[in-house]
């Protein structure tokens, strides 16, 4: 049972808006790894992620979580599978009329019978861990994008899920905050031995945090590889993707200024 992959996609096909958005997507996410899916926008990353918690159902193929088929689960079984997940949505998806504290406490209040004191202890512990203790009484609208994502991360992990899904955790954030989020993803996954699936178009963070990287392009997975091999890939689309973000074969991250001023290297 333990050598089962955490998540398995079996030739998943999905049509949305009359287009084939996922085209026979096949991959496995191993237990305890950080699996990064990269691709340009509109390539089907979010759609892939949404299949894992059955916010979408495949038109063909199946999605397995451990030994259960999530794409056929309903009712109590679906709830049980979803309980294994924490999801960080692209826009953080915090409830706007609740304070940071109440947002993070929500899963505990709704799904456990803990007393308010226990809840407070856990919520404050989690918020401290993410450096959010000053924001406790603020409302999401008063927070920066990076802070909102950290609050959403606190909410996603408060019930100790086994798998965390991150939808573009660093998009729209400045480089410094992005690296902080990367560090958080790494430390979360190391601390609790979590399985993480990260969807991003930011190759820098993919290379920094990923155990394996998958490139999705027009609904197809073109390549799944470790970061080192990914950098050396001969696949045209992968190369174009790397070049677009000024990443060389050696993994040196050139800045825009560097590559312009340096004579042809």
């Amino acid at each position: 049972m333990n050598d089962l992959p955490a998540i398995r996609f079996e030739r998943v096909v999905k049509y949305l808006g009359g287009r084939r958005v996922l085209d026979r997507v096949d991959f496995e996410v191993h237990r305890g790894e950080i699996f990064v899916i990269v691709g340009s926008s509109g390539s089907g990353k979010s759609v892939t992620l949404r299949h894992m918690v059955r916010l979408l159902t495949p038109d063909e193929g199946e999605v397995w979580v451990g030994d259960e088929c999530v794409s056929r689960a309903r009712g109590a079984q679906l709830a049980r599978i979803r309980d294994r997940f924490g999801v960080l949505f692209q826009g953080a998806a915090l409830l706007q009329w609740m304070t940071v504290y109440d947002n993070v406490a929500l899963p505990l209040r709704e799904k456990t019978s803990l007393t308010e004191e226990d809840i407070e202890q856990r919520v404050m512990g989690q918020l401290r861990l993410l450096g959010l203790e000053d924001a406790v009484d603020k409302y999401p609208a008063d927070l920066s994008g990076g802070m909102q994502k950290r609050v959403a991360l606190a909410r996603a992990v408060i019930l100790n899920p086994a798998i965390i899904l991150y939808d573009e955790p660093t998009s729209g954030l400045d480089p410094v905050t992005s690296r902080r989020i990367d560090d958080l993803i790494l430390s979360m996954s190391r601390r609790y031995g979590l399985t993480s699936v990260v969807v991003t178009h930011d190759l820098h963070s993919a290379l920094a945090i990923g155990d394996r990287i998958a490139l999705i392009h027009q609904g197809r997975i073109l390549e799944i590889n470790t970061p080192a091999q990914f950098l050396r890939s001969e696949n045209e689309v992968v190369r174009a993707f790397l070049d677009a973000q000024y990443i060389t074969r050696r993994g040196a991250w050139e800045t825009e200024v560097d590559s312009e001023t340096r004579p042809n290297s």
Binding site: R82, P107, K111
Partner: protein, 270 residues
Amino acid sequence: MVLHEPDHFEPPLNFFAALGRRILLACRNTGRGTVILLQAIWALRFMLSRRNRREVLMQLFVTGIKSLGVLTVVAMFTGMILALQTGLELRRYGQEVNIGTLVCTSMVREMGPFMTALVIAASVGSAIAAQLATMTVSEEIAALEVMSIDPVRFLVMPRLAALLIMMPMLTVYTNILGVVGGAIVGWTQLDVPMSAYFDNAIQYVRNKDLYVGLFKAAVFGAIIAGVACQQGFQATEGAVGVGIATRRSVVISFLTILAVGYMITRLFYA
């Protein structure tokens, strides 16, 4: 699950295909709204539980207070118009003292619940639709579903409870103000003394009128909640979708309230 897979349809071939599709979609949405409403009614049993109490109170407050100003004006003018236009007619026969009965029964039976429902649908209902639509397009509803927190119990039930409780209360308020508005017109425009007006008003209104009116008000409240929530959960495509959901929720509630109001009157008085 309140979220559904996104629809996609090929462009219709001709007018009839387009019409047929609209009818089918309308039926499907009615069905979805009804299911949400029934689930929310079933969830009303958690209304007073520790988890939901705060939200229910909050919604009661929002529903009750938000539209009180508009409702006051609408109620007064409804009574005044009723009094004026029937009063002028009755004066030709020297019967203007009977406007009391006319205003009071029309308000209690029909106009009170109806006007209240229109005002509440336009203010509270549209606000519910806009809020839930915003939550839908910003993936907040998806986040709730993934956390296995039932959006119907968590979001719809408190709003339904508030509407079911506040609609009859606001209707009583509308009725009273309408009758008072009629009295003012009767006194200033038609020389009907206040005491005669009120005697006349109270004498002929039956308990049944009051009960049916309040029942209507509660049904209208449920309609407003069901339509607004269904439209909110169905929103797509960002800010544009929120606008569409809001507008549709108002239009559809208006039409449904009219039709159902007619049927209830028919049921109890014909």
